[in-house]
Symmetry: C2
Subunit: 446 residues, 2 copies
């Protein structure tokens, strides 16, 4: 995966090599602004970044390809062959809340190392933060109802399918349909039948019976293949047949039509028939907005399968994330490009609480010691992890706590309030000094 990088990382590295530039550089990863309707982010993806850094190395095959481009000297390719990541990483742990402009992660390493990892680091954190944040909004909207990730078929590639499952679970969802994610991350997997299953049988009732025979402990019948209410009546019949064998039908799934009305009609039917225990699941175009509406209107749905719109974060399919050089060879640096502010130097974020609730963050220089909890932890030194990886369950628990403590007004699904993020006076001062120096030097201003 080391070639999974932008060519310019390698051309820049070649120049640093040629010029003998091996001083330490600090790069800061942050998100410039919120996507629509967001006022917080959830940290996710750090574990994968650290695994990548620990195993970083170019293969002979990679170097042969680079050689074939004709761009690079043999000396530089030799140098790449022995290149390892030996730097430091400070980061906000997974599952924690963070806000715009705050450094999620800072890398300090000889500049070639810190530069060359850029594309992978941005890609990894961007996707997982995006998906964890989206999933957390669904969890908020569902108000305790179950949420299962059904998005694999429409995610933007297999990697995304796996990351949705992990990020979703991290943010409070209950499981996934993605079997490989179940295996890789230990996430509960679920799923029962598709419409093709029902249509492959001579009739719907036969399809339901066959399923109940095979999975008597976990039968969830998809009842909308032909007509939801007619399917629900067949489900009642199956439930009766199962009761005769001391079994219980676990549930039914709605997947089309007016699900608010259908869910009530199906619930009524089941209750009339003494089948209060049969759960109603729903899938089909659900995201946080549709879930919130369904819950508000009193839809009788016990759990939602969320798919495409959550799996691609459809209303906000990317973040404005950036990885910027903030210090080189001991000097704070920045760019001035219009509309793209970068905060100089190594930083820390301090979170202040009131009555156990976060009320303000302050972005400061890393050496400052302000009130509040410092969020960035040193997680890697000299290219080695210095902390045990957190378990996904621990991260999930942490995330649930963080979210429960965040004021509702920052979690509103539409037009949330902005959480207060300030800059320390030391940072403001240094920022102004560096801007002044750069303008003087590059633009001839005084």
């Amino acid at each position: 995966m080391e070639l999974l990088t932008d060519l310019y990382e390698l051309t820049m590295a070649a120049v640093y090599f040629q010029e003998g530039m091996y001083e330490p550089a600090t790069f800061s990863l942050f998100i410039r602004d919120y996507p629509p309707n967001r006022a917080y982010f959830i940290s996710a993806g750090l574990e994968e970044v650290l695994a990548y850094l620990e195993s970083f190395r170019f293969t002979r095959d990679d170097l042969d390809y680079l050689d074939s481009t004709g761009l690079f000297s043999t000396d530089f390719l030799h140098y790449l062959h022995s290149l390892r990541f030996t730097g430091q990483v400070r980061a906000i742990p997974e599952g924690r809340l963070f806000f715009k402009d705050e450094p999620i992660l800072e890398v300090t390493a000889p500049i070639i190392q810190a530069q060359i990892i850029e594309s992978f680091v941005i890609n990894t954190i961007n996707l997982q933060v995006l998906l964890a944040t989206k999933a957390s909004r669904c969890v908020h909207a569902a108000k305790g109802r179950g949420l299962i990730d059904f998005s694999l078929r429409r995610t933007q590639g297999p990697d995304a399918g796996l990351r949705v499952a992990r990020s979703g679970y991290l943010a409070g969802m209950n499981g996934t349909s993605n079997v490989l994610a179940g295996k890789m991350y230990g996430i509960p997997v679920s799923g029962t039948m598709a419409h093709s299953f029902v249509t492959s049988f001579p009739d719907e009732l036969e399809a339901f019976r066959a399923f109940a025979r095979a999975f008597p402990q976990s039968t969830v019948l998809l009842i909308d293949t032909y007509d939801t209410l007619s399917g629900a009546e067949k489900a009642v019949r199956i439930a009766r047949e199962m009761e005769e064998q001391d079994l219980q039908l676990r549930g039914v799934r709605l997947d089309s039509g007016d699900m608010l009305q259908l869910s009530r009609q199906v619930r009524d039917l089941f209750n009339r028939e003494g089948l209060d225990y049969v759960r109603i699941f729903a899938s089909g175009g659900f995201d946080e907005y549709k879930i919130q509406e369904m819950v508000r209107q009193g839809g009788m749905i016990d759990a939602f399968g969320v798919g495409t719109k959550v799996g691609v974060s459809a209303d906000a399919p990317y973040t404005d994330i950036a990885y910027k050089l903030v210090k080189y060879a001991g000097h704070p640096v920045l760019k001035l490009s219009s509309g793209k502010k970068t905060l100089v130097d190594e930083k820390q974020v301090f979170r202040t609480e009131d009555n156990g609730r976060p009320v303000k963050d302050t972005i400061a220089l890393s050496w400052e010691d302000l009130d509040g909890e410092p969020l960035l932890k040193t997680v890697m030194e000299s290219g080695k992890r210095i902390l045990q990886p957190d378990s996904l369950e621990d991260i999930r628990e942490r995330c649930q706590q963080e979210l429960s403590r965040l004021d509702e007004r920052f979690k509103a699904l539409e037009s949330p309030d902005a959480y207060p993020v300030e800059l320390s006076s030391e940072l403001v001062k240094l920022q102004a000094e560096v801007v002044h120096k750069v303008r003087e030097k590059e633009l001839g201003e005084s």
Copy 2:
């Protein structure tokens, strides 16, 4: 990757196994509707699907995981262990145009095989069609100007980063910054420097000089780190220094600010200085809409780097793609779920032309022989490819031809006309018969 599937594919397979259902099933892959502002799709992803099917097998490790879920019988796991894909695939070749409701791909195989591959097939084709279609719109908007994929850092995962590069090149883009994609697919790679490069040097001019020393044949200077016009003046100085060594500065890149105005100012400056040969590249938030606007207004940009918005197809991050059972054991089948029409049976698509331009497609039953070109080719029989894979260059060439022959009104970036797609009278008749039979049988209608 065989576990990269939804759990229900496996639970359904277990029931088919239990019930002894091994008859051939045909599944049809199609897109129900266009995303906003689209009126065509480009076929892409078939090569990856065929490679997956040819190598399909569960590993011992996969089966151990499935066993650990407690859901499956030992007999069924043994069966999975020996499961290979032995079916037929008919498909519209990569790089061709297709339209909504048309089968892109039809799989005919024993139902367990045809079912179990669903998640992978949908995921693969959905993403690549989405990205190829998006990229083709940028190519259309750029009217012959260069287009390079810069999206890797913001794609939804590494896989997506690779698929963007391939799908984009397939659809007419000129190259990618993604080095691994260059290696894997033989796509031209490009890229020079980031802002971090400029800020790591004592001053901008030194940074530019160092780059020109290292890459005299391909120096493209990023000139907006501090101020674009000031950067352009330094680029003039570099160009002069290069001319003294009989070298030419290749170009500059703009990445922020009012790029319409800046591109004109920079072009004017270069032309006044006799540097007509220095090209102007631009990046930063470009997609087909922004490119079209820039071209219309006369921006002096020779090539665009397109990133995030193209890499995630931001205005349409998914398609409404479905893989539906249309025939089982010789009988055409369908579901009736409201708002989700499926066309029964094995099908073919016939394209009619007028003066070398496509004017109408007809979706027919596979045995029909209508006027026009049949689009679906048999590409796999008994689990083996029966055609050599097309080279990416050939697919790209085909795609360019297809697009050039499509009327402008179907390619408009906003509110394009709908391309005519009809159903054959035989298909209409069979569809009505099957709907009637199903309603009679399942809903008691007569």
